[in-house]
């Protein structure tokens, strides 16, 4: 579950906070493997967390692909945040963001 994986996110962030303050690696890697899913995490510099759940049987997705997907997601998210009409904390209703996510999903599946 995404929620549970946040535990590991927190753990990793705090571990990173101690050790690698300056390192700019935002990708947290595999957080929480379960039998059926793999949960990957990504945290921005402003501690916005992205979590991606991938079917375990999907072996086409390697670390690098996940990383680039996260990067794409992050860019798109930044665009949404830059929208002056967006209220931080609201539900994201951007069409561009949606289509980006959808295209990513299609590409993966």
């Amino acid at each position: 579950m995404v929620h549970t994986s946040l535990d590991v996110v927190d753990e990793k962030i705090s571990a990173m906070g101690k050790a690698l303050v300056d390192q700019r690696e935002l990708y947290l890697g595999l957080l929480y493997p379960t039998e059926d899913y793999k949960v990957y995490g990504y945290v921005t510099n402003s501690k916005v967390k992205f979590v991606m759940v991938v079917d375990s049987s999907n072996t086409a997705l390697r670390d690098n692909e996940i990383r680039s997907m996260f990067r794409k997601l992050h860019n798109s998210y930044t665009d949404v945040m830059c929208n002056p009409f967006y209220n931080p904390g609201d539900h994201i209703q951007s069409r561009a963001f949606d289509s980006m996510v959808t295209s990513m999903m299609i590409q993966v599946c």
Partner: protein, 1259 residues
């Protein structure tokens, strides 16, 4: 240690494996040296340089020394590495040439040939020298010769292949030295052999791997080969490298499985796809699981077997490397990937088998790790093992569900069969764990054996997992396990135990705002609470679920129905209320007051419209919706007044309530906003900035601990408030979505009413919104009746009819028919009564109520306005026209204003200010029917005009000009301009020279009127005039009433011309024109035009023998510095008071500029001697001389006569000592008495030829 004599034991793959070194030659010698050698060899590390750029490593070498036998040498094609002799050593003690030649040489040759036959080049010949022997055989030959011989014979190119070891069993420095040299040599040789042989082996292996695409390639074969390499590394204690070999195998296999999934199946892989028949878990206790290895070797292993074996090897190596945590991590990965691979390869697995395998494996790994670490280490590394714990828990749970061990009744026969099958698949317990009580095998067997045992094991595991998660701060994971546990308890029908876990999980989700988990947990909780019979909690959860959009429609309806059925059922205990928070039932969207400013007078009707958004999926009939109102009387009296309320409450009456978009209160929303302030700290000494920063003032609010005790959904937090004032609305059906509910109330007592609680009751179920936020209030006021009179325009203009608005605010007074306003009239202000006056009655909300006609009766003193009947708290508005009589500011003292009028005499001020209008205040006292006191109202009228007059002369003819200036914004029409002399002497005549009336006078413009003054007799010294002009607003047509004309009175004095002054400038004699810089003569002639008149009789007049003369002073002044007056510019003359008496004065002036220059001014003053008997000529001269009159005299020319007087007196004060005489006085002649006939004349001046002269003269 193996003695060389012993027969070679079969190769045993244990950790005791060491690289094999064969020994040939003198076995006895070797046996004697062996203990020292095996002890010394591993003592010092050796650097091993590796091929392929691998990092060099320090190795402690150990060796297994075996006797040389030919069969030890590997045959061609044999790839076994473990049994491979890496080095061959020939030992000899020979020091005798004879012996050497006889036996040793042959032996050596034979040995060498054998080696060569097997193409083995790693050999070493050791010559041991012994002092003892040396002594025996007394130096027959130099010792070295044997060594040299051997070197010669065998080591033709590699002389270092022969080593001398001297006195190995002695303890001397020489011995030590030779030992060291030997050992180094031995190690080097060994390593060289390793490098060469391993390199070769690796190359072979790689070749084999490259063939993997060929059909018939077997993974198992390759596995064995690479494992051989791994064994060698392990033998060399290079566990890292050994692990790499296994990892490579692991990766290769995984890749094949993945490729298989992608459709690229290798033949050999199908073998691994055989159905799983055994699931006995990982075996990690033995370093090498020979059973499995054999299976692989025989190519009979299943996928699980291969994986198990591979992992057991990896585990062993990792433990050697002191990395137990990696074992745990890899175990989890392995278990997951195995499950996936089995799926991917479509291997048929009996249900539950994998669960068993995973469960056993988890526990095995955990126990293995526990076995090699101490308690403290384990505790500090829970993070690594907890995954395995929860995985095991999960698996046990699913096994339990599968086998019917979780149900209340226990397993049925089908379940039992399944259990038996599963247990069969486990096989027999391994001998190595048979003695341990807590072996995974035993645990699983026990857990599956009975319901109770299962419960015990499951609870143990769950609690352990929860505890571990909590201890490392993974509360969310702990909640998840807790939820599973709750589910388990629910299955076991013990909801009271489940509840605590569900509540905990729910609290966590709520705090972090995860909608879907909340919904799921709530559903579980609802079920749990239903079982527990917690009505209130259950209803609350139900209502929350019914309003939850993540729940399906049917489920929402179900939960809603639960509430409704409860509400309709429980009637046995009346008065029993179940109070639930409203927000889960419906949301208050907005609230709308009518009247919109939420201010209502006593007795008025206030209606409150609220929009409630019902969250229920079905329409709900609500018996009553009530709003509790708190009543408070405002202390401040002023606040209660209607004006204040209407002024300050300008809202549109709609209050919007913040909608919670999420159905749960997210914790961050509850936090107060940050209050940040700038902070500057300056050093006390020099006030320079020391530190600056931002302070958060409400840190204590923000950073306080989240109170864990307060549940977010405690129903007890809702307290019912019993207010005396309640707004009620009965029998409302709330449709899903927005509903509009209207409350009506009649205001009773004045004060402020605050809406507090909203409460909707469905039977005994009360949904309560404890606080309405933002604060909603309405005010009830009571008001005294009031009358207000105000002009319609900005200001009232006097003289024309102006409209004034009367506003009667009735307040609590009801205007009856016959009530009237009594206005006591002011005399100068008329109230114009038209036949038709209309009054409009407004309600308190400014809506037009009615329009009635108004009766106005006027008598001399009193105007009575009868008001139309109007209810309380209404407003009557009507307009009346009033006319203020224009009262012109009069220059004379007479005032025509009487009675109530108090004209403002602002005439002087307005003249200075320029544009302000003169104003007049009129006070009207009004008697109102509701009060015994009269209301006095002041109305200010402004006079729209300002009038000025002036006297114009032309010789002896006189004209009067009157200027009328319009100050108002309106345009007027002027008519019948008239100037009369109220004295009306017949011998004076005013002849108008004006345009035909009427004349338009526009706003901010002026109009002039001129009359000529004619007289037949000697005119009086002063003349009083009265100017009057009729006016009316230009825009309007005929006015109903005649307007009073505007009048202006003034007085003209001394208008008769006495003197005529003429000035003339003549060019110097001979010249045609004046030139700059050259002197010209100025001729001034002053002519008396009349005989002795009344006005002449003053001090200046001197009489001698019927001959009157008056003293005049003239003065020539040039304002514009065109002329320089040379010599005296002024003088005193004695003018005979006779008509046509003329006095001429001649002066020299010099033009300073060329062109047409206006003549210098000639002024005339009356010269009043202090004493008429004085010889004034001298005085005047001296005074003038003192004053040094010249061009700069113009400074004083603005001074009027009085200031010249004062100047004279000042001068006299300073110069009175020597003379002892007071100074004469000067008096300006009134402008009407002097006519300057040469005004406006100009003289042509031509520029002089010599400019330099001009410049000099100027300076």
């Amino acid at each position: 240690m193996d003695a060389p004599e012993e027969p070679l034991p079969p190769v045993i793959y244990t950790m005791e494996n060491k690289p094999i070194v064969t020994c040939a030659g003198d076995q006895n010698l070797f046996t004697s040296i062996y203990p020292t050698l095996s002890q010394q060899l591993p003592r010092e590390p050796m650097e091993w340089r590796r091929s392929y750029g691998r990092a060099p490593k320090m190795i402690h070498l150990e060796s297994n020394f075996v006797q040389f036998k030919e069969e030890l040498l590997p045959k061609e094609g044999n790839k076994a590495l473990l049994t491979f002799p890496f080095l061959h050593i020939y030992w000899t003690e020979c020091c005798d040439t004879e012996v050497y030649k006889a036996t040793v040489k042959d032996d050596l040759t034979k040995w060498q040939n054998v080696l060569k036959a097997h193409s083995s080049v790693d050999w070493l010949i050791v010559v041991v020298e012994n002092d003892a022997k040396k002594k025996n055989k007394t130096n027959i030959l130099p010792r070295t010769s044997i060594v040299d011989k051997i070197r010669n014979d065998f080591c033709n190119k590699q002389s270092d292949r022969c080593v001398v070891l001297s006195d190995p069993l002695k303890d001397s420095s020489r011995t030590q030295e030779s030992w060291n040299a030997f050992l180094t040599k031995l190690r080097t040789s060994l390593l060289m052999s390793f490098t060469k042989n391993l390199g070769k082996f690796e190359d072979d292996m790689r070749t084999l791997r490259e063939k993997r695409t060929e059909p018939g390639w077997s993974f198992c074969d390759y596995f064995m080969v690479q494992e051989e390499l791994a064994f060698v590394f392990e033998m060399l204690q290079q566990f890292e490298d050994a692990l790499v070999q296994y990892d490579e195998l692991d990766a290769l296999f995984s890749q094949y499985v993945v490729n298989f999934g992608a459709g690229d199946g290798a033949n050999w892989l199908t073998f691994f796809c055989q159905p799983v028949k055994s699931w006995n878990g990982l075996i990690l206790r033995k370093p090498i699981d020979m059973e499995k290895r054999e299976l692989i070797q025989r190519q009979e292993a299943t996928l699980l077997d291969l994986r198990s074996y591979l992992f057991s090897r990896q585990c062993t190596l990792l433990l050697f490397l002191q990395r137990p945590w990696e074992v745990a991590q890899r175990a989890l990965e392995l278990l997951h990937s195995c499950v996936q691979e089995l799926k991917l390869l479509e291997v048929s697995v009996p249900p539950g088998a994998l669960d068993c395998w995973v469960f056993l494996s988890c526990l095995e790994v955990l126990q293995r790790i526990e076995g090699c670490c101490d308690r403290a280490q384990i505790d500090s590394n829970i993070a690594h093992t907890v995954g395995l714990w929860s995985y095991a828990t999960e698996k046990l749970k699913s096994l339990g569900y599968l086998c019917g061990l979780v149900s209340e009744k226990g397993p049925n026969s089908e379940d039992l069969n399944r259990i038996v099958d599963l247990l069969a698949g486990l096989g027999a317990e391994r001998p190595e764990t048979a003695n341990t009580a807590q072996s995974p095998y035993k645990k699983l067997k026990e857990a599956l054996s009975s319901v109770e045992a299962f419960e015990k094991h499951y609870l143990d595991l769950s609690h352990a997992a929860i505890e571990m998660h909590t201890s490392i701060g993974r509360t969310r994971s702990a909640r998840l396990v807790g939820k599973d546990l709750a589910e388990f308890y629910m299955r076991k029908k013990s909801p009271q135990k489940a509840e605590i876990y569900l509540q905990g999980a729910l609290k966590n989700y709520l705090a972090e705002g995860w909608a879907l988990p909340i919904t799921h947990t709530r559903k579980q909780l609802a079920e749990c609470q239903k079982h527990l019979g917690q009505t209130e909690n259950y209803l609350q959860t139900s209502s929350l679920l019914a309003s939850d959009h993540h729940v399906t429609e049917e489920e929402r309806k179900h939960f809603c129905q639960e509430i409704l059925s409860f509400a309709s059922r429980q009637t046995d205990s009346p008065g029993h209320k179940i109070v639930l928070p409203l927000h889960c039932f419906a949301q208050l969207r907005d609230l709308h007051f009518t009247p919109s400013n939420a201010v209502v007078h006593v007795g008025g009707v206030l209606s409150v419209d609220i929009t409630m958004c019902s969250q229920m999926p079905v329409p709900v009939h609500v018996e009553q919706i009530a709003i509790t109102v708190h009543f408070s009387i405002e202390k401040n009296n002023y606040r209660k007044t209607a004006e204040w309320l209407t002024k300050h409450k300008t809202s549109n009456g709609i209050i919007n309530f913040p909608t919670e978009t999420s159905p749960f209160p997210a914790s961050q929303n509850n936090l107060p906003a940050l209050e940040l302030y700038e902070m500057f700290e300056r050093s006390p000494s020099d006030n320079s900035l020391n530190t600056t920063g931002i302070i958060c003032k409400n840190v204590h609010m923000l950073l306080r601990r989240q109170e864990s005790s307060t549940s977010l959904e405690t129903p007890s937090g809702v307290a019912l408030e019993d207010g005396a004032h309640v707004l009620k609305c009965n029998d409302v059906t709330l449709e899903p979505g927005a509903n509009r509910i209207t409350f009506r109330t009649q205001a009773k007592e004045p004060g402020t009413y605050t809406l507090r609680q909203l409460c909707a009751s469905v039977g005994p179920v009360w949904f309560v919104l404890p606080h309405l936020y933002p604060l909603v209030q309405y005010d009830v006021y009571s008001q005294e009746p009031q009358l207000r009179v105000e002009p319609l325009a900005d200001s009232l203009l006097a003289g024309i009819p102006q409209k004034v608005k009367f506003t009667v605010t009735t307040g609590h007074y009801t205007v009856k028919n016959g009530d009237s306003l009594q206005l006591s009239n002011a005399e100068a202000m008329l109230i114009l009564c038209h036949a038709e006056n209309r009054a409009v009655i407004y309600s308190s909300t400014r809506e037009k109520a009615s329009d009635v006609s108004l009766r106005v009766q006027s008598s001399d003193k009193v105007t009575s306005i009868s008001l139309p009947a109007a209810p309380a708290y209404h407003m009557i508005e009507f307009e009346l026209e009033v006319l203020s009589l224009p009262s012109a500011p009069v220059t004379g003292g007479e005032s025509s204003m009487l009675g109530m009028t108090e004209p403002h005499r602002k005439h002087k001020d307005t003249q200075k200010a320029g544009h302000c209008m003169a104003t007049t205040d009129h006070k009207v006292s009004i008697d109102c029917p509701w009060s015994i006191y009269s209301t006095v109202i002041a109305l200010t009228f402004s006079v729209p005009f300002r009038t000025t007059h002036s006297l114009l002369s032309a010789g002896t003819r006189k004209y009067i000009q009157v200027c009328v200036q319009n100050l108002s914004e309106l345009d007027f029409q002027l008519s019948d301009g008239n100037l009369v002399d109220p004295g009306s002497s017949a011998d004076l005549q005013l002849v108008p020279l004006n345009a035909k009336s009427p004349q338009h006078i526009h706003s901010k413009q002026s109009t002039f009127f001129v009359w000529e003054l004619k007289w037949t007799r000697e005119p009086p010294p002063s003349l009083r005039c009265q100017f009057s002009v009729g006016f009316s607003p230009a825009s309007e047509g005929q006015l109903s009433i005649p307007l009073k004309p505007y009048t202006y009175e003034f007085q003209v004095e001394n208008f008769f011309t006495l003197y005529n002054v003429r000035a003339e400038i003549l060019p110097p004699s001979g010249a045609e024109h004046c030139r700059t810089g050259s002197l010209c003569s100025l001729e001034v002639s002053i002519t008396r035009l009349s005989g002795l008149l009344e006005v002449d009789k003053d001090e200046a007049l001197t009489e001698s023998d019927e001959y009157f003369s008056t003293k005049l002073m003239y003065e020539v002044v040039d304002n514009s510095s065109n002329w320089a007056v040379c010599g005296k510019s002024s003088g005193v003359i004695s003018m005979p008071v006779v008509a046509q008496a003329t006095h001429r004065v001649h002066m020299e002036v010099m033009p300073l500029f060329a062109g047409y220059l206006p003549l210098p001014d000639v002024r005339l003053f009356k010269y009043l001697p202090h004493h008429s008997a004085h010889s004034s000529q001298l005085d005047a001269d001296s005074w003038i001389e003192n004053d040094s009159l010249s061009v700069d005299k113009h400074v004083d020319e603005q001074l009027d006569s009085s200031s010249i007087k004062s100047r004279g007196s000042v001068h006299s004060a300073s110069s009175s000592e020597p003379k002892g005489l007071p100074m004469p006085r000067l008096q300006a002649l009134p402008p009407g008495q002097v006519f300057n006939s040469s005004t406006g004349m100009q003289v042509l001046v031509i520029p002089s030829k010599d400019d330099h002269v001009l410049e000099v003269s100027v300076t």
